[in-house]
Symmetry: C2
Subunit: 612 residues, 2 copies
């Protein structure tokens, strides 16, 4: 009886291909063959073979990603928390495959394998391999299994790089892709750390030019490399929380050079474990593959590489990851967005550093599980799902911290009415996506949201809404001029720091922009100010002055003047009363009678690029 949520007992399987003279060509110019890949599978392949999820592993991972090889195995596979019935990668729905990379030492062909030319282990005669080579070998495995297309390919760290290679090298074979805690290239610092680790291996006299398999290997060198790498997987904060300055064995300093701090003995232990299961030559080859990884090189630029993507993409980073910091994920996301690809992005708050991708299971389960469920549907928006949360929750009061709303959002109906069928729409501050979902459902809009709040982003992804975590106050430089039919900023203008900059960016990006805001010129506001002498509190300005998230107060008249001064043409102006009725009188009266207003604006002629 397997544990709850476990895939139970599993076996590693093997496939061999690229038998001479049909060796697989490599990026370095050499050829490799025969190639054996070690792999495992979990769950059941469905009849039309449309439920396949490929998991790709990081530097020290292997094919054994879930379950146990024997009932008394002390540990399950390396991502068991995420893979199993009911888990993030739900093996009750999906057929999950994971294979050890070429160059590795866990069953796939690598430098410790027998070189057919000599009958001895390859050692340094093994050709240099790249991330792209690893992925090409995985494609052979899929061919062998008779799988044409992946529902999804997912991986963290070096796995994320393989995912990017999959999505660009084999765009037609990938319906969705999940890039976690990764980068589109190894940056200088990451290269530097890998280089120092390799120096440690190469400097070990037992390394013997890589020809050490018959004798004791370069354990000291490899252990130094691993200790160093291990530090980069944690964060300053998580190391401090876990070890602080605690001593391991004693309550006072030993005043010698033995390991005595808990963090030292932990690294000693971790590196010893690693040396026992990992081959030093594989460490050299795989770190070199990492260093060489730069998605832009094969196609000329990151943009040209990602232009090939057909998959819907989910990119996840972690706030405290300093090995592959969020800004690198954000470059991928910005490029995909600019290319109008289907992409969702979240930087998950975590103290765990790079290792967070193995540890932040709760939020990853929600976001990845939601993303995969939508990836499985062709027209994948809520229209297809009558029970989707965002349909049933329409009646629910939706009050968020950064919203000034405390009741039904009467501006939403007006906004939906304004938008033509099939428009491409950007909703800035989209919250949990109610408006976007409605636009997709009723207007067949191609929508995309921008949001800051992590929980809201999870909700959007669960509804299949492409949402990118970004801060409008930091600008939207990634989005090209006039790339959306409509850019919407609903009831958000008053909470952002620099509304003038936001509007300028909106006019640049959107052919038309829709802005709604609470009207500070509303008569109730005026009465409270003028006669009571107090900061106003109304339905649309519900907060006492000291708790208000509203940074700015403006009236319909203010906004009109602002548009005139900032190169915006007003195409439509819809003042709305507190009963939700349009206020029809002209000029002065709307400002007095409207509780809120919806404006449609566009850049004045010749001012399209005014913002740059």
């Amino acid at each position: 009886m397997p544990e709850q949520g476990s895939v139970g007992l599993v076996q590693t399987q093997y496939v061999t291909f690229a038998e001479p003279p049909n060796e697989m060509p490599l990026d370095c110019g050499g050829r490799l063959g025969p190639i054996t890949l070690a792999y495992e599978t979990y769950g059941e392949l469905n009849a039309d073979r449309s439920n396949v999820v490929l998991i790709v592993h990081a530097l020290s991972g292997d094919a054994h990603v879930a379950g146990r090889h024997a009932p008394d195995d002390p540990k399950p596979g390396w991502w068991d928390a995420m893979i199993g019935p009911g888990k993030g990668f739900d093996t009750a729905r999906y057929f999950v495959i994971c294979s050890n990379v070429i160059g590795g030492c866990r069953g796939s062909t690598g430098p410790s394998s027998i070189n057919p030319a000599t009958g001895r282990p390859y050692g340094l005669a093994f050709p240099i391999i790249t991330i792209a080579d690893m992925v090409r070998a995985q494609a052979h495995l899929l061919d062998h299994l008779g799988i044409e297309q992946l529902l999804s390919v997912a991986g963290g760290s070096m796995g994320g790089m393989q995912v990017l290679e999959w999505a660009t090298q084999f765009p037609e074979r990938v319906r969705s892709a999940i890039v976690i805690a990764s980068s589109h290239m190894s940056a200088a610092q990451a290269i530097a750390f890998n280089a120092v680790g390799r120096h440690a291996v190469l400097a070990d006299p037992l390394f013997r030019d890589g020809d050490y398999y018959a004798e004791e290997g370069p354990a000291k060198g490899l252990s130094i490399a691993r200790m160093l790498a291990h530090i980069t997987y944690l964060s300053q904060q998580s190391m401090h929380n876990k070890f602080g300055r605690a001593l391991r064995w004693a309550d006072r300093y030993s005043y010698d050079f033995d390991s005595e701090f808990a963090v030292e003995t932990y690294l000693d232990y971790q590196s010893e474990q690693f040396v026992n299961r990992f081959d030093a030559n594989s460490y050299l080859y795989i770190t070199k593959a990492l260093d060489y990884f730069d998605l832009s090189v094969s196609y000329g630029s990151l943009g040209k590489a990602l232009a090939r993507v057909q998959a819907s993409m989910l990119v996840l980073s972690y706030s405290s990851d300093w090995l592959y910091p969020p800004c690198e994920s954000e470059q991928i996301v910005q490029t995909l967005t600019r290319l109008e690809k289907d992409v969702a992005y979240c930087c998950i708050e975590s103290d765990y550093g790079h290792d967070a991708f193995l540890l932040e299971v709760d939020v990853m389960e929600k976001i990845i599980g939601g993303f995969l469920r939508n990836a499985g549907e062709k027209g994948r928006y809520c229209a297809k799902k009558p029970n989707c949360a965002c349909v049933t929750r329409d009646a629910v009061v939706n009050r968020r911290d950064n919203s000034i709303y405390d009741g039904r959002r009467i501006d939403y109906e007006r906004i939906v009415d304004l938008i033509e069928d099939g428009s491409r729409v950007l909703d800035i501050g989209c919250g949990d996506g109610v408006l976007l979902c409605q636009l997709m459902r009723e207007k067949d809009a191609r929508g995309m949201g921008i949001e800051l709040d992590q929980d809201s982003i999870v909700s959007c992804v669960q509804c299949g809404i492409p949402v990118v975590q970004a801060d409008i106050d930091k600008g939207l430089a990634g989005l090209p001029d006039q790339s959306f039919d409509y850019v919407i900023l609903s009831m958000t203008l008053q909470v952002i720091k620099r509304p003038d900059i936001a509007i300028r960016e909106m006019l640049r990006i959107g052919r038309k922009c829709i802005v709604s805001f609470p009207n500070f010129g509303f008569w109730k506001v005026r009465v409270m100010t003028a006669f009571w002498g107090r900061a106003p509190v109304t339905r649309n300005l519900p907060y006492p002055w000291h708790e208000s998230p509203n940074r700015h107060v403006l009236s319909i008249k203010d906004f009109r003047n602002f548009c005139a001064a900032h190169g915006a043409r007003i195409l439509k102006e819809i003042p709305i009363s507190s009963h939700g009725r349009t206020v029809h009188t002209a000029d002065f009266w709307p400002n007095l009678l409207a509780d809120e207003a919806v404006f449609v604006i566009a850049a004045a002629e010749g001012r399209t690029s005014a913002g740059r």
Copy 2:
């Protein structure tokens, strides 16, 4: 003819002390002697020996901090940019001393020195030394030079740790102290990096248990340790800016394990340079001293250690330093502030990482130069300096980004009038310190400021005003209950995110609190709102709605109600007209006639700790 601003040609000098049987006792329980210290001096010692500045160096530094040993030296001393006539440490004013630490290999006694017991180099027979031991040896040097008290002691990184030891071990000998890019203890990550570096040295077969002086030393191990350490001195961003993914020799990958990326060859070069000038045993001893450093251990807690400080303290950190991150400096600063010590703190914006303390010369010159000039005066505030900028600038219009002010600050006069002589005052959002300076000058106040803006902090330090960089919106948890006579928040309430939390913290910290703000109930504001229907723009609310830094609008009436609801007693209420006159009529009218208001409030009885 020396270069402009250079100390010119200098010579290293030597002093020997602790001759047996009077060896110096060490923290480890052993004794060391004789001890030779290599040192250099620059500038002239004045008659009363009151102008001495001691510079203490980091891991790989030495006594040669400025000038050149020979005219054709390719490089000057390691901190030449900061030390010389007219520089941050102005040798036209100060007598600057720097000595190589014990355990080092640059002229002072260390593991490469001859062990008098054997007539051969100490090697690992050298006793383990601590930062405190280094400082005790420096005290012997001062005794030798006949110097009783230091005007200042300053250092970055490990130097900052020595500064902290100086200020706590010899409080009466230190008038001021400058702690730069440092920490009160080595945290887990820093220990981990040092430990890996030592592993690399110890694993080198040429290390021979430290007894390598007659033969080739452990150059490979030491070079790996140095490469690793060097990465921690830079930031991700600075490495990216400097190297990116550039290749050093070719325009395509070499597909082998040689160094090929520019960042690799840079590390190779740097570590080769280092190996040529540094002793591997010294590297072990000094990194171990770093690991052992924890100011709290000797005295029981960080608070008990810093309670001993008599010096005025300047603490500097750098935004991108991840080896000794700003939060560690902030722990020192918060503890000093809690203990009512004289402390100034700035986290300097920089991309350079830990190395910023060697590179951000411009801002350091201003802030350190200003700090030292004030450290030289006994009663050190502007009263003593009729030409101080803050006196002459009273007439100057003072408009800052985070101020709503666009003319003379009429609330300042009222606030000064309210405060009793000799009060301890905290000014939150103190700007460049004009109000604090006036309070110190006219009311003999013991003042302290809190500010976010770096330039304003530099101005404060230049005026001798203790100022700490902190964000009121993140709370003031470091400051104890009722620790100030007055806490002032002048014209700032409306720009902070959560004024309710700020006021709660103020009431907790201050026996009385003074709050001034622009009155949203002012008749001009009401008229603009009520009849023009526009967001108000007045003298005190000078910004158009979309540029306003004001997050909140409130009236006198709002503030009264707020106080009633939040456990604040109103002790005094001073409505001020736009002509600077006090509005005297009661209740309703001040709200209508006052352009701004000054309130004195205190926690209601029994509510002192309400905020916690």
